[in-house]
């Protein structure tokens, strides 16, 4: 497969040739420089708007995209609305890829958003045809740019800076359109592009190709649409050819998406394939039915009150209609498409010790970065769960079942010693390091409330690692005494195994349930049961020694190992409180107040006695 670097080295000479060619053309036709300058300004304006919306929305855009995309129609609508407002399908794509990487939305929803986003990009055509061509630059564009420069001088918050960027962006976009329009009008005197108009399907194919190439070069279908509309409004191109150019812009944008996806993760690549399939099918439908669509546009234009000779707005209507038809045609097959997408770009050789969710694309937003860390910490816990159960010589399936715990401890996992160090090095150490490294990177762009959550997650990670380390220490004597002849010490170690098995089972229930009362009950129970390991206070050790049931050496081992069991349990309970109570749930808000403190735990233990 060709890598992104190969593509870059392949395209580099072409780009240099294009630049040289452009400079030569500029020498021949100085008016072209006005048009090109207009395009450049348009692209700069879009960049400003994109970064402005990113700072201004302050998580609102992400929240909306996360919450209102659970069904395909909702996902399409959100993709449409978000792109139409933000005027940037690339920003929406970045957010959606990061959501997918962080496991916040399903692939079906993500594909839906991308379809809707494609429809949302048609808003640019309306913006250009309705406002852009009529707007007086001195009246709107310039004041907008001035406002955008002045606002951050007095208002320093990120939100105001975002609003300022949106003002500058919109102003520069209108300025760009103004220059393009002026350039085309002046160019007409020397070079009339309309003379190259072509009729019939040959003309359609040629202009589709021109539109595609232009979009690939400019890397923005919105900019291509702006050029087409201004050229059409100034009479530089024929209406029929403009329609074909618009189809070409849609097709060309898939190349941009595919090129962009080469450096993306597998989720980005899957979405790029979905985007590609959607645009190719939409393009084919539009080409095949171009004459019928033109008639439909003429018919609808009369209904919505667009003048017969307002070709710019008719083109915007055409652009919207054929994208809408694309959405209607492809959406019924979204399940099949997603099934296919799930079979491609599957990473080879999945390793338990390698991160599954820590993708740099998730670093774009604090919410997705945090979500990735939560998912990866859960992955770390899954690995730790396996190691701890193996270390305690328990079978994972038994721990997770409803089997009586007395039976669970009798059904041994193996008769051999398990090298916990080896498991730790392969499944925990590297993954833990990656989570901490990713967290440090994520922290750079996080607001304080997220940093607080991140800090707790780091503690949860440390608790998991400590629990595994504790199991390693516990394992040595556990093997010795559970296979030995002294029934009394064996019973004590089996009690430790049983207690930890119960805790692991309860944490699994907590992780899977949404019922707050169950979570509170199990966490409280776990806190009470931890105290069983305090064998000095509860008199167990004293009784065993006094009656001569265990040797001094056994007593020392039991005392130390009970301490390990106590620490492992405490670590796992603290971890579960952080990791398995959903950040957004009601319980998270009141858990700290309802959580049992040490005094209450001791009171309940006393009551039970």
């Amino acid at each position: 497969m060709m890598t992104h670097n190969h593509f870059r080295s392949f395209f580099a000479p072409i780009i240099i040739l294009l630049i040289v060619g452009a400079l030569f053309l500029l020498g021949l036709y100085p008016n072209l420089s006005i048009i090109l300058g207009g395009i450049a300004l348009f692209l700069i304006g879009m960049e400003y708007m994109e970064s402005g919306f990113k700072s201004f929305s302050g998580g609102l855009l992400e929240n909306l995209l996360e919450k209102f995309t659970n069904t395909t129609p909702k996902a399409i609508s959100m993709g449409f609305l978000a792109t139409a407002i933000v005027q940037s399908s690339s920003l929406i794509s970045i957010i959606i890829i990061s959501f997918l990487s962080a496991g916040l939305i399903s692939l079906t929803s993500a594909v839906g958003v991308i379809f809707g986003s494609n429809l949302g990009t048609t808003a640019t055509a309306w913006l250009v045809s309705v406002f852009g061509l009529k707007i007086k630059i001195s009246l709107y564009a310039m004041p907008m740019i001035i406002m955008g420069i002045i606002i951050p001088l007095f208002l320093k918050s990120n939100a105001w800076k975002g609003i300022a960027s949106i003002f500058i962006g919109l102003g520069v976009i209108f300025l760009g359109i103004g220059y393009m329009k002026e350039g085309f009008e002046t160019l007409k005197a020397g070079l009339d592009l309309a003379q190259y108009a072509m009729e019939g399907y040959a003309g359609i194919f040629v202009y589709v190709l021109v539109g595609s190439v232009a979009t690939v070069v400019i890397q923005s279908s919105s900019a291509t649409m702006a050029i087409i509309i201004t050229a059409l409004a100034t009479g530089q191109i024929d209406y029929a050819n403009a329609l074909a150019l618009a189809i070409g812009a849609n097709v060309g944008t898939t190349v941009t998406a595919v090129l962009g996806a080469l450096k993306s993760n597998e989720n980005g690549k899957r979405l790029a394939v979905a985007h590609f399939i959607f645009n190719i099918i939409t393009g084919l439908i539009a080409i095949i039915f171009i004459y019928q669509l033109t008639e439909l546009v003429d018919y609808l234009a009369v209904i919505v009150g667009i003048a017969v000779d307002n070709f710019a707005m008719k083109l915007a209507l055409f652009h919207t209609i054929f994208n809408l038809i694309g959405v209607l045609a492809v959406t019924p097959f979204i399940t099949i498409l997603v099934k296919y997408l799930n079979t491609i770009f599957i990473p080879k050789g999945i390793n338990k010790g390698k991160p599954k969710y820590l993708d740099n694309s998730a670093l774009v937003l604090p919410s997705t970065a945090l979500s990735s860390i939560i998912m990866e910490t859960k992955h770390l816990y899954e690995n730790a769960f396996d190691i701890i159960t193996h270390g305690l010589n328990l079978k994972k399936k038994n721990v997770l079942s409803t089997m009586d715990l007395d039976e669970v401890i009798l059904d041994l996992h193996t008769h051999k010693t398990i090298d916990i160090d080896d498991f730790y090095n392969h499944w925990i150490k590297g993954l833990y390091g990656e989570i901490i490294d990713f967290s440090t990177k994520a922290q750079e762009n996080m607001p304080p409330e997220y940093i607080e959550e991140l800090y707790k997650l780091k503690l949860a990670n440390r608790d998991i690692v400590d629990a595994v380390k504790g199991t390693k220490h516990l394992q040595k004597n556990m093997i010795k005494y559970t296979s030995g002849r002294n029934e009394h010490i064996k019973a004590q170690y089996d009690d430790i195994r049983k207690g930890l098995a119960e805790l692991l089972r309860n944490i699994d229930t907590i992780a899977k349930t949404d019922e707050e009362d169950i979570i509170i009950l199990l966490l409280s129970k776990a806190k009470i049961h931890v105290e069983r390991y305090d064998i000095i206070t509860n008199g167990t050790l004293d009784k065993l020694i006094r009656k001569g049931l265990i040797t001094n050496q056994m007593a020392t081992s039991l005392m130390n190992d009970s301490n390990y069991a106590h620490s492992i349990s405490k670590n796992l309970i603290t971890m579960a409180e952080i990791l398995f109570i959903d950040i957004k749930s009601d319980l998270k808000k009141m858990h700290e107040e309802l959580s049992m403190n040490e005094e209450e735990v001791n009171l309940l233990i006393k009551e039970q006695k």
């Binding site: 939100a159 707050e516 009362d517 009950l521 129970k525 009141m590 309802l594």
Partner: protein
Amino acid sequence: MSIKKFIESVISSLNLEEFEIKGKKKSIKRLLEKLELRKSILNKTTKKNLTKKEKKELKEELAIITLQIKKGNKLLDELNTKNSKNIQTKKDK
């Protein structure tokens, strides 16, 4: 006016602080209902057929639930007091 101050004044003028307290109160009430239901189910359990171990577990669960209900009610009272204080402060203004 900074955005933060603006948001704070919007929250205050729209009574959103109380809205937050109301939301929390609603969550606690819902949790208390669930706990009460669980408690009544446990209380109705016939202890005759239970083993010693099961009886111990039942007793423990009942003790935990009773304590949590007590804590929940206390929290609810605190929120009610906070809410009425907020209303009083607004009236005084």
